[in-house]
Homo-oligomer: 237 residues x 2
Amino acid sequence: MPKTQPAASKAAKPNSTRARILAAARSLFNRDGERNVTTNHIAASLNISPGNLYYYFRNKSDILLELYSVHRDRMLAMLSLPPQTPFSIALKAELMAKLAQAMWEDRYIYRDLEHILSASDAIATLHQQTFHAVFAKTLELHTALEQAGLIVATPREQRDLTYNAWIILTNWIGFLRTTAQVDVGDEASQALINRGVYQVLALEKAFMTAEARAQVDAWADRYYTALDELHEPDHAH
Amino acid sequence: MPKTQPAASKAAKPNSTRARILAAARSLFNRDGERNVTTNHIAASLNISPGNLYYYFRNKSDILLELYSVHRDRMLAMLSLPPQTPFSIALKAELMAKLAQAMWEDRYIYRDLEHILSASDAIATLHQQTFHAVFAKTLELHTALEQAGLIVATPREQRDLTYNAWIILTNWIGFLRTTAQVDVGDEASQALINRGVYQVLALEKAFMTAEARAQVDAWADRYYTALDELHEPDHAH
């Protein structure tokens, strides 16, 4: 069995030790940052021995790889169009809600992406494959929006838009950190994660027809939070 | 004198040793990646002793800080509107050309941004100030485009657009690396840097009036290069 795949015989069942290790790791990564959490921290938070943890996972990279895979599968599932359903703004709203929630629940992946990819060749390779799969599915969504008469965009513009959406979403948390030293460890930062989802909507809205825009405007503000205070020069100097 | 400022008495004159050190460092950073270049490499490439280099710069961070400052000043100068000049698509074309050239000539900054910021508090602080200054100037440009009747965007949309433009441009090279293992060390990669500038144009074009778009379409393709081959699944698997 390739070492990058989780062992089927140790597959996670709810409340199994394996599942509890994954849940604790994710929670600590989100709160403290992936770089600052060791397997010892994870074991200690569960009151288990490091040896017990190592029975399930060889090292931190193995835990990260499995958590990344689960996040990837979740993103791909939400981006999959229901067969033969014409696209609608209601479907778009549902997708944005799921996207914001998924980013929030695995925000450490976006916060520490560069570090995670540089520390694990297996995750770096999987991330490239994830890009291909997410790109293809997001492009399908933009094409479906165009076919439903909700956006006006040529095939090339649909591709340009799809690249930009990926870049904005995957780098949103890095943007908050590098421009305003924002850490997204605490619960209060969920609004800032949502603003990243809003930025993608702002990108797509520019291509929307007046009718589609009016429908989007009715709910887009739930993802909007002002950043002005965050970026006030007084805070940074 | 604060240690983050270059000493005036050692200011760079063309062909001075100080200026040659800066030029050599920039060239090596661009070719080999900032992480892989030491002060010894820089001294060796100039056939000077490390001691001679240390007379001008305390360490690699000091060199990076000065190069970063020069790049920052260059970006801010190009983003400054000529006083009382109404905005035009010709001005926009000129700006895009300067932007693409500046990104190309200091591409190592964008390639290794996370590493550079994490290694130097002085540069991290300066980067935050750079964001504020670039944001203000880019927002002025988007407002001028709107006032000239070239784009249609509300004040909030102008801000959303400005955030997205910064994120796409500063993360473009990271996007190439994380999704396709592209290194931009060699001269052949200039087209890929230009594509990042095109992506910002694609973002702005969605807000343009039909007349402005038609003018932009006449020259935008000089920044376009197809990415399909780069992202062919066969390359990544």
